[in-house]
Point group: C2
Chain length 256, copies 2
């Protein structure tokens, strides 16, 4: 039996950043996050910052007043069938490229980005008001890239940014946090071709690192505790890439 | 805008436990893990221990010598079609209740436990030899319960145990670690009915806590570094339950 080929990694520490005010359009997220880091006694250097989609969308003004939405015939039909607000359904349809499944009052949509999730990520909870829908960022990888650039401009070094959202999955109850955008880190770690303990080639082991980081941060993003960001120390940014690269080619997807 | 209703959680620390020998049938996993904890300078108290399926299966002797397997006609057909070892395919079929999808050389199976994953979790990598397949534990929740009882018997207190495995997902490339068994912790945290920042009811927010813990631990379970277990401090065991409760009822599953 051969020796393991990689070093045992360092411990990882996850620090919740709770000291953020309510975020609105145009807010300087990088500055607010840096201030929250100070209060949590951490320095943004050599680590991964996971930020929940909701505050990124709010800062980018990705908000829709439901009062201004005129529901289509299709939205009215679905809303009546599902017992939903037709204006909410209309916004979901506008954000969707395709309805993947619609049953039991659940709409699983493929968003314009290519994500497959409930309601195309259009959310009414934690919105600035009861009549406001929050949309996903227009380009989540670009949002991560912009936030990273702003952090670097304020002197942060070797910081990766992940934007996370909470998705359901087939076959299992419960939601998990996944990465919808990233910058400064490879979203997948490819260990194909490296050897395992026994010296046998690991044939197909591509880990969805960005999703694992998002899920880890999700442990601290307790919905009602006001933790919209988590700083991760010990997992160094490695590689480059974007979440859009992790979306499976429809041709090789068995569950379209 | 009302104040958040829950306290900001404490930071979480993830410590890799790398100092384990090769595990074989009958090994006392609890004792070996306690020794690894000592070497990593952690104490198993008030935290979550995530253990990868592979070492649990090996300790339980869930190993199959391929030389002893007589492939069925169906296994021979699939093996020829997919370019696989027919004896491996035969073991996969025996561990499956149902083939959910079979295309592009990929078998997505529903295991006897109800998990939906590639190859019914039957794995040839990190096996004790090139001609040995490692099966999932017979009852993963019971395995977690047994390990927890053994840890408690050696004096550990308030320790939850999660057994993790690495699964693929639809729509996204890359594997993530999920919980296949747990004990001493509720696999899902239900925050329905609690209020979000704006005072609005959170209607459907059930987090798959055990899966998020497994994914977090997965960041350190680098396949070729020999880290089969991770100790998580700061996330206290809360609730009781088992992973089998998180498997979605086929009647409400849109992706059977």
């Amino acid at each position: 039996m051969s020796e393991p080929t990689a070093k045992i990694p360092q411990p990882i520490r996850l620090v919740p950043l709770g000291a953020l005010p309510a975020i609105g359009p145009g807010d300087d997220l990088a500055a607010l996050l840096c201030r929250a880091a100070e209060q949590a006694d951490v320095t943004f250097a050599r680590g991964v910052l996971v930020v929940c989609q909701k505050i990124v969308s709010k800062a980018e003004g990705r908000l829709v007043e439901l009062a201004e939405i005129e529901p289509s015939q299709r939205a009215l039909q679905i809303a009546e069938q599902d017992g939903k607000d037709a204006r909410h359904v209309e916004v979901i349809l506008r954000e969707s490229d395709r309805i993947v499944r619609h049953a039991h009052g659940v709409m699983i949509c493929q968003t314009r980005h290519g994500f497959v999730c409930a309601n195309a990520g259009v959310d009414l909870s934690n919105a600035p008001g009861p009549e406001v829908a929050v949309l996903l960022p227009e380009d989540c990888d670009a949002s991560a890239e912009n936030l990273r650039a702003a952090l670097e401009a304020s002197g942060c070094r070797d910081v990766a940014v992940i934007i996370s959202d909470t998705f359901g999955r087939p076959w299992r109850e419960g939601l998990v946090d996944v990465a919808i955008g990233c910058a400064g880190i490879g979203p997948m770690a490819d260990v194909r071709g490296q050897r395992d303990w026994t010296g046998r080639d690991l044939q197909v082991t591509i880990t969805a690192t960005a999703d694992q980081l998002a899920a880890a941060a999700g442990l601290l993003m307790v919905k009602n505790a006001g933790v919209p960001a988590v700083w991760i120390e010990g997992h160094l940014p490695d590689g480059e890439g974007h979440v859009r690269q992790t979306l499976r080619d429809p041709a090789s997807d068995l569950f379209r």
